[in-house]
Symmetry: C2
Subunit: 256 residues, 2 copies
């Protein structure tokens, strides 16, 4: 559950993308906003450990701000489900868990599936051709860096964002981009997950865009749901494998 910062500096690009392209993202002007982003980054990257208690006086001193300003930032962190607050007790960084990760995938499957259906209905022809162009770039880059799964991950987020924004549904956009995806990025960092399904994911993206271009909302939703479900099952298998490996190690340790 260690953070792997060097593998995830693309987050900055994605964040910038969110800020410039996401209509629901408000500009960062106030100091509370800046501190919010700093803490958010620290939580996502695991610098502030998952599950740890947050000390208001401590953090306020660390960032050289008053407690009021910090509390404003904490409120926004709570809004995107990165921390949890209890009255008269305090805040804790959300506890990452396998169950939580799977629940997140379930929720994404529902929301992004519907977003994809709406995208098929509501995206403009221009938006669609933009996305097709993006996919071509991904294809080329993939040829260069095939197997690493690194850039593909960036492309993955990029792709999902474009689809979600293409739904033209403010409610969906806000829920997924404004709230859920902070948690997604946190899990990606904490569990060190870069997709080992790069080429398959690329094919799935192609099919989804095709369905959108055909204005086939029903198919588009189904494909997106399968795409996310496949990713979830991939994780489940990986975790199951890790567990059995650990068990075998334990058995060996007992034997020796």
């Amino acid at each position: 559950m260690q953070s792997k910062t060097n593998h995830y500096n693309y987050n900055l690009d994605v964040l910038k993308f969110m800020k410039t392209n996401n209509p629901t993202q408000q500009a960062v002007v106030t100091t509370a906003d800046k501190v919010f982003e700093k803490i958010q980054h620290a939580i996502v990257e695991g610098e502030i450990p998952s599950g740890s208690k947050i000390s208001e006086p401590g953090l306020a001193k660390h960032y050289q701000i008053s407690r009021s300003t910090l509390r404003e930032a904490l409120n926004r962190l709570e809004k995107c489900h990165l921390i949890e607050r209890k009255a008269n007790v305090g805040s804790r960084v959300v506890q990452c868990s396998i169950e939580g990760l799977l629940e997140l995938y379930i929720t994404r499957e529902a929301l992004e599936g519907m977003a994809c259906r709406q995208a098929a209905n509501n995206m403009s022809d221009e938006e669609i051709s933009n996305m097709q162009a993006m996919l071509k770039i991904h294809a080329q880059t993939q040829e260069l860096k095939d197997g690493t799964g690194y850039y593909q991950e960036e492309g993955n987020l990029d792709f999902h964002y474009k689809v979600i924004l293409g739904s033209h549904n403010k409610q969906l956009i806000e829920l997924i981009c404004g709230q859920l995806y902070h948690l997604v990025r946190m899990y990606r960092c904490q569990f060190g997950m870069y997709s080992p399904r790069a080429s398959r994911a690329f094919d799935e993206h192609s099919s989804i865009i095709q369905a959108i271009a055909d204005r086939d909302g029903e198919l588009a939703e189904m494909l997106m749901r399968r795409h996310i479900a496949a990713s979830r099952k991939n994780i489940e298998n990986k975790i199951a494998k890790e567990i059995t490996q650990k068990e075998q190690t334990n058995i060996q340790l007992i034997k020796s």
Copy 2:
């Protein structure tokens, strides 16, 4: 778009239900919590008009609290999408619109559909029989008050809540019950919508519970989605009818 308080006092019951049965709902202890609930009620009922600007000094004086406490309450209102804030400008009550209502239904269809699927997988036998018992009570009460659509609406919320909680998915529960449903109740009040589909909705509820009892997640999701989509289309028709009526009235006014 007037509020119809007398028709909606059942909201208190539902709120109580949320507090006692919803694991994500935290107890109200702090004064900010109390003020939050008061303002929330005022917004939902339309006492504070949809789209109106919120004056921090004004509201603070009105509720006899400091601005800090009020801002704490405003943050929670923002979390459940009842107000929108802009930096250095202020807060506005969310603007109710037909597009917003339809977007909300789309989102509910996605989330509650998936929650229903998960409920079929995860509900305990006891929970299921509880829900079946609840439905029987609804059937009896419906016989008594058939046609009013009033109590049925309470039952409707009750039913949906039970299904959502039955998903045992914290992420889904928090998103739907903790955030979305405040907006749902607001729209219900502001647009004065008590379901005119009482008996049909009851049948749909029955089928859904049956699918859950059969542990048929796929069918359960499909039925729930159709249930919500039917409600949405019902609204769409109603609105379309109202618009044509208005147009005809306008034509008559022009003629006279």
